[in-house]
Symmetry: C2
Subunit: 213 residues, 2 copies
């Protein structure tokens, strides 16, 4: 790679990004994860080497000149939202059924039906059965199909009316249309609110970050 003035970012997970003055994509990079980073000075240059095992490859960055350096530790709320796993969201719905809808009564979770396990299974205010499929993040078509299969299985075992609800922080393209076409419903479910429901600790910490240290 030819020399030029660049912005180099080394992240906490070992990711390396080399950016030019234009363009969305980095001109060179190394994804985070199984990376090993080493630094040395050599003939008036600073050399940084980042390598990984699989695939076996390495990126060497050679600094002839350094305009400025900054070292930061970023405290990011996003890392906390990782704490809201699909399991946490399930627990949250069980603890606070109104997150899903008013007067919803959970009956079972991880209930075995033919194709697999239903995330949450319950009863709505009118006594209709409700099958809930929960996704941690944007739900795609496969989530819809999963829900549809479970719904089919449950309907085969009862004469009562059965509703199917897909609960996720968002939906992919066409998912809402597909749901409507199959007579299914969508409910927005925020992973962060779910996390707050099962533990208040992380909220407190988040507030600290916003006020600054």
């Amino acid at each position: 790679m030819e020399p030029g003035e660049r912005i180099v970012i080394i992240k906490a997970d070992g990711s390396l990004l080399v950016h030019r003055s234009t363009g969305y994509e980095p001109v060179n990079w190394m994804p985070g994860g199984n990376t090993f980073c080493s630094v040395q000075t050599k003939e008036q240059t600073l050399q940084i080497r980042v390598q990984r095992k699989r695939p076996a490859e390495a990126v060497n960055v050679i600094f002839d000149e350094i305009q400025f350096v900054a070292s930061l530790i970023l405290s990011d709320a996003g890392e906390f939202s990782l704490y809201a796993s699909e399991e946490d969201m399930q627990k949250a719905v069980l603890l606070k059924p109104e997150l899903l809808e008013e007067r919803f009564k959970p009956i079972a979770y991880e209930k075995k039906v033919e194709p697999g396990f239903v995330d949450v299974y319950g009863e709505d205010k009118d006594g209709k059965f409700v099958v809930v499929e929960i996704k941690r993040r944007t739900a795609g078509k496969e989530a819809v199909m999963q829900l549809a299969r479970y719904l089919e299985a449950v309907r085969g075992r009862t004469d009562r009316e059965v509703r199917g609800i897909l609960a996720a922080p968002g939906t992919g393209k066409d998912v809402l249309r597909t749901l409507a076409a199959l007579g299914l419903e969508y409910k927005h479910l925020d992973p962060r609110k779910c996390a707050e429901t099962i533990t208040r600790v992380s909220t407190r910490k988040l507030a600290d970050f916003l006020k600054g240290s």
Copy 2:
């Protein structure tokens, strides 16, 4: 998007990158190009808005707190290669035919033949005619086809042997194979060297950058 400590980069082309402390991908972004950027302060926050027309969308960045700011102008060799337009590269080959090959003698440029205009037209050291197609960046299949058409046209007007040369800084996938299959040749032509040939000014500047100010 939930708040957290981030690294925000606004590039010269209007690209916006918002990075977290981990991962290759930006957590939010706006590609460069048709973007319009505005800044305002509001209720103790700094707000940056970047929007584009097609697709119609915008990204708002709200700073509750700023750890540090840096404004840089990056002088990158890549930008200099922009200064070497296809026309410049053509001039460079005319001024310094050895950029293409030893003892190449240009006869005409932008010469009209049936399908359009041949970039450079000349004669090699053995007296064979040479048709040159120049591309300022990575040449794709369409460049090969263009060259092939011109070559066909020229061959129809002479009994002398005619060579076809594609000159570019690089080639796309399969282009070299296609060239070989059609009996055409490829010559690496560096836009930067072409730019240096037609004017020494930029070279001097680049050298300054590398040595530091």
